[in-house]
C-alpha cells in the first residue's frame, strides 16, 4: 500500500513523469490499435472472433527477427516482408480452418481460433525457442540519433519508438485509404453490410472473406515486425495481444475506426499508468480487468433496454 501511495506521490511531485508515461502508453497503444483494427475487420466482415490475433502479431515479429539474424536484413525492411509472409500464412489458415467456421455459431469460431492460437504458439516455440527476443534498430546510418532526450534528460525517446509509431500510422493510413477507395475495399464493406445482398450483386464473397482474413493477418504481422524493434517478443506473448485487441474492439464497437484508435491509445496509456502505480507485475492483470470493466459497462448500458423477470 505504501508503495502505491509513494508511486502516486511521485506522479504529483514530478508532473513531467506523467508526460513520459503517456508518451510510452500512446506508442504501445498505436500498435494495439493496429491489431485491434484487423480484429474489428474480420469480426465485422465475416463474424469470426479471432483469438489467434496475437499469435499473428508475434509471428510477424519472428519473421523479421529470423531474417535479421540469418540473412542480415535491416529491421526496417522486415516490416514489409513480415506483411507479405503473414499474408500467406493468413491465407492458408483461412482456407484450412476459418472458411469452415464462418457460417457456424460464434462459439465455434472462438474455440477454433483458440486451438489455432495454441498451435501457432507451440510451433513458434519449437522453431525459435522460448527466450524473449528483440532487434536493435541502429539509425545512425540514416543521420539520426538513437535516443532523443527532453526535459533535462527526464524523458528519453528512442528513435526506434518514433519510427515504429510513424510506420504504424503510415500502415493504418494505407489500409484506410485502400478500404475507402479501392474496388476490393468497397466489396469488403459491402459484404460486411449484407453478405447475401453482396452475393446477389455479383461479389465473390468467398474471395472477399479470404482477402479480409489475409489482410488482417498481414496487418498483424507488420505490427509484430514493428514490435520486435521496440519491445520484446516471445512465443507465448500472443494471448496478451489478443486480449488487448478484444478489449479495444469491445470498447469501441465494430466499424468505428476513430473509436478503435482512441481506445487503443487510451488502453496503452491506462496500462502504463497502472503498471507504474501498482507495479509491473500487474500489467497483464490490468489489461484483462479493463476487458471485464468494458464488458460490464456495456452490459449495464444494455440493461436499460431489457426487462426480465427478477
Amino acid at each position: 500500500m505504501d508503495q502505491i501511495i509513494g508511486n502516486i506521490d511521485l506522479l504529483i511531485q514530478f508532473p513531467i513523469v506523467n508526460l513520459k508515461i503517456i508518451l510510452d502508453g500512446v506508442m504501445i497503444g498505436a500498435l494495439f490499435a493496429l491489431a485491434a483494427y484487423g480484429l474489428a475487420l474480420v469480426w465485422g466482415v465475416m463474424n469470426v472472433k479471432n483469438l489467434a490475433q496475437g499469435d499473428f502479431v508475434i509471428g510477424g515479429g519472428y519473421v523479421s527477427w529470423w531474417l535479421a539474424n540469418n540473412v542480415g536484413l535491416h529491421p526496417l525492411l522486415g516490416v514489409p516482408i513480415a506483411f507479405v509472409v503473414m499474408w500467406g500464412i493468413g491465407w492458408v489458415t483461412y482456407k484450412l480452418v476459418i472458411s469452415r467456421v464462418i457460417e457456424r455459431d460464434l462459439f465455434t469460431s472462438l474455440l477454433a481460433t483458440f486451438g489455432l492460437a495454441i498451435m501457432y504458439a507451440q510451433l513458434m516455440n519449437l522453431m525459435f525457442g522460448s527466450d524473449t527476443q528483440s532487434l536493435v534498430l541502429d539509425v545512425t546510418a540514416l543521420g539520426l540519433e538513437n535516443n532523443y532526450y527532453f526535459a533535462d534528460g527526464l524523458i528519453d525517446l528512442p528513435a526506434a519508438k518514433i519510427i515504429g509509431v510513424a510506420l504504424a500510422a503510415i500502415l493504418a493510413t494505407c489500409v484506410i485509404l485502400f478500404m475507402k477507395r479501392s474496388r476490393m475495399g468497397q466489396a469488403i464493406r459491402a459484404t460486411a453490410q449484407d453478405a447475401r445482398a453482396a452475393r446477389v450483386m455479383g461479389i465473390d464473397t468467398e474471395k472477399v472473406y479470404a482477402f479480409t482474413f489475409s489482410l488482417n493477418s498481414a496487418i498483424c504481422g507488420a505490427a509484430g515486425a514493428i514490435i520486435v524493434m521496440v519491445w520484446v517478443i516471445q512465443p507465448f506473448y500472443g494471448i496478451t495481444y489478443s486480449v488487448r485487441a478484444f478489449v479495444i474492439v469491445t470498447a469501441a464497437g465494430l466499424g468505428n475506426l476513430p473509436g478503435v484508435i482512441a481506445a487503443g491509445l487510451g488502453i496503452g496509456a491506462a496500462e502504463q499508468y497502472g503498471s507504474h502505480v501498482f507495479g509491473i507485475g500487474y500489467q497483464q492483470a490490468i489489461a484483462v480487468m479493463l476487458l471485464l470493466a468494458v464488458l460490464v459497462y456495456r452490459l449495464l448500458q444494455q440493461k436499460r433496454n431489457r426487462q426480465v423477470l427478477q
Binding site: M119, L123, V243
Partner: protein
C-alpha cells in the same frame, strides 16, 4: 431400472474400484482421467445443457486449489508465515491433521466456489453468446494474475502443501478414490438432475432463453443455481488436485487457462455436447490421445492437441454421441419415421446438388 442396466453399472463400478489395483503403475494417470471426466461433466452442465459456453470454469478449479490449501494449512499454522517460508521452514502435519485438512479443505473449496459462482454469475450471465465466453475467460486470466501477485498465498511461487506421513502408494490410492467417489457422486447427481423439472428448465434456457422467460421460468435463478452446482464440484476436485500435486503455482497449474481450461471444453465437444455420457466418453478419448502424444511426439504434443481442438471444433462438433445418435438412433430409444428420414435424405441430396 432393468437388469441389464444394473449389470452395466455394476461392471463399470467394479472396473472403477479394480483399476488402480490392476494397473498400480498408472494410478496417477487414472486419477487424472477422473479429474478430466469430472470437469467435463461439470462444464457440460452449463455449456451443453444450458447453452452458456464458459471458457473460464478453470477459475473454480484454481480457486478450489487455493481455498483447500489455505484451509488445510490454516487449521494448523499461520498461512502467511507458512507461505513466507515457501516450503523451507519445518511444518509437520500429523496424519490426522492431514486427513481433516483434506476433507474440510476440499468441501470448503467446493462451497466457496459455489458461492463465488453466485456472485460472478450475477454479473456475467447478463452477457450472451461469445461475450459470455470472453467474459469468463477474462475472469479466469485476471484471477490467475491477481493471485500470482498476492504474497499471502505465496505469490508467483505458489504453495507447497504438506505430504501425508504414510506410504506414498497409499496416498496415491487415497487420491484416486477421492476423485473416483466425487465422480460417481456427480454422475448419480446429474443422472437424477437431468430428469427433473430443473433439467428441463436448463434445456429450455439453451433452446430459447426469451421464450423460457416468457413461459415464467426465472432464468437468472436457474442459471445461477446451475453454475453454482457445477462450480461446487469443480471446486472439490480442485481441492483434491491441490493435495495430489502437493506443490502448485498460480499460472501454470492452478489457473491453467490454456491447459485444463480449454481441454474440458474439447472433451465435451469430442464426446458430444448436452448428453450425459458424452463428456465421459470424450474425456476418456481425449486423455488417451493426450497420453499417447505425450509419450510418442514429445515436443510436438501441444501442436497435436491444438490440431485436435481445431479438427474437433470444425469438423466433428456433434461429437461421438452425436454421431452415434445419427447412425444408431434406436440405441437412444428414438424412432425415426421412415418417410421423414426419406424426405430428409432427398432434401439433403438436393442441398448437395445445389
Amino acid at each position: 431400472m432393468n437388469i441389464q442396466k444394473i449389470g452395466f453399472y455394476g461392471i463399470l463400478l467394479a472396473i472403477t474400484i479394480a483399476a488402480p489395483f490392476l494397473f498400480p503403475n498408472y494410478t496417477t494417470q487414472l486419477a487424472t482421467l477422473w479429474l478430466f471426466i469430472i470437469v467435463s461433466m461439470t462444464w457440460d452442465m452449463t455449456g451443453g445443457q444450458m447453452g452458456y459456453n464458459s471458457l473460464g470454469n478453470i477459475f473454480f478449479y484454481g480457486t478450489g486449489m487455493y481455498v483447500a490449501a489455505v484451509i488445510a494449512i490454516g487449521l494448523v499454522y499461520d498461512v502467511g508465515e507458512y507461505t513466507g517460508a515457501s516450503g523451507g521452514g519445518r511444518y509437520d502435519f500429523t496424519n490426522e491433521q492431514y486427513i481433516i485438512g483434506f476433507v474440510l479443505g476440499s468441501l470448503g473449496a467446493g462451497l466457496f466456489c459455489a458461492f463465488s459462482a453466485f456472485i460472478l454469475g450475477y454479473v456475467l450471465f447478463g452477457l450472451r453468446g461469445p461475450y459470455f465466453a470472453i467474459g469468463t475467460l477474462g475472469t479466469a486470466i485476471a484471477a490467475g494474475e491477481l493471485v500470482s501477485n498476492w504474497d499471502w498465498v505465496g505469490g508467483g511461487q505458489g504453495i507447497t502443501l504438506p505430504v501425508y506421513g504414510g506410504d506414498f502408494d497409499q496416498t496415491k490410492l487415497f487420491i484416486y478414490f477421492a476423485f473416483a467417489i466425487t465422480g460417481v457422486v456427480l454422475f448419480i447427481f446429474l443422472n437424477w438432475l437431468y430428469k427433473t423439472r430443473f433439467g428441463a428448465a436448463m434445456n429450455a434456457i439453451r433452446d430459447d432463453e426469451e421464450k423460457a422467460e416468457a413461459m415464467g421460468i426465472h432464468t437468472m435463478r436457474y442459471k445461477l443455481v446451475a453454475w453454482a452446482m457445477s462450480a461446487f464440484f469443480i471446486g472439490v476436485v480442485g481441492g483434491i488436485s491441490a493435495f495430489q500435486l502437493i506443490s502448485f503455482e498460480p499460472l501454470e497449474s492452478a489457473y491453467q487457462t490454456i491447459n485444463l481450461g480449454i481441454f474440458m471444453v474439447v472433451c465435451v465437444l469430442l464426446g458430444g455436447k448436452g448428453t450425459l455420457w458424452g463428456p465421459i466418453i470424450g474425456a476418456i478419448a481425449f486423455q488417451v490421445f493426450k497420453e499417447v502424444t505425450w509419450n510418442y511426439f514429445l515436443g510436438w504434443q501441444w501442436v497435436a492437441l491444438g490440431a485436435l481442438i481445431v479438427v474437433t471444433v470444425v469438423y466433428f462438433q456433434d461429437g461421438l454421441m452425436g454421431w452415434l445418435k445419427h447412425t444408431k438412433p434406436e440405441w437412444f430409444g428414438l424412432t425415426v419415421d421412415e418417410k421423414e428420414s426419406e424426405t430428409r435424405a432427398t432434401s439433403k441430396a438436393e442441398a448437395a446438388a445445389r
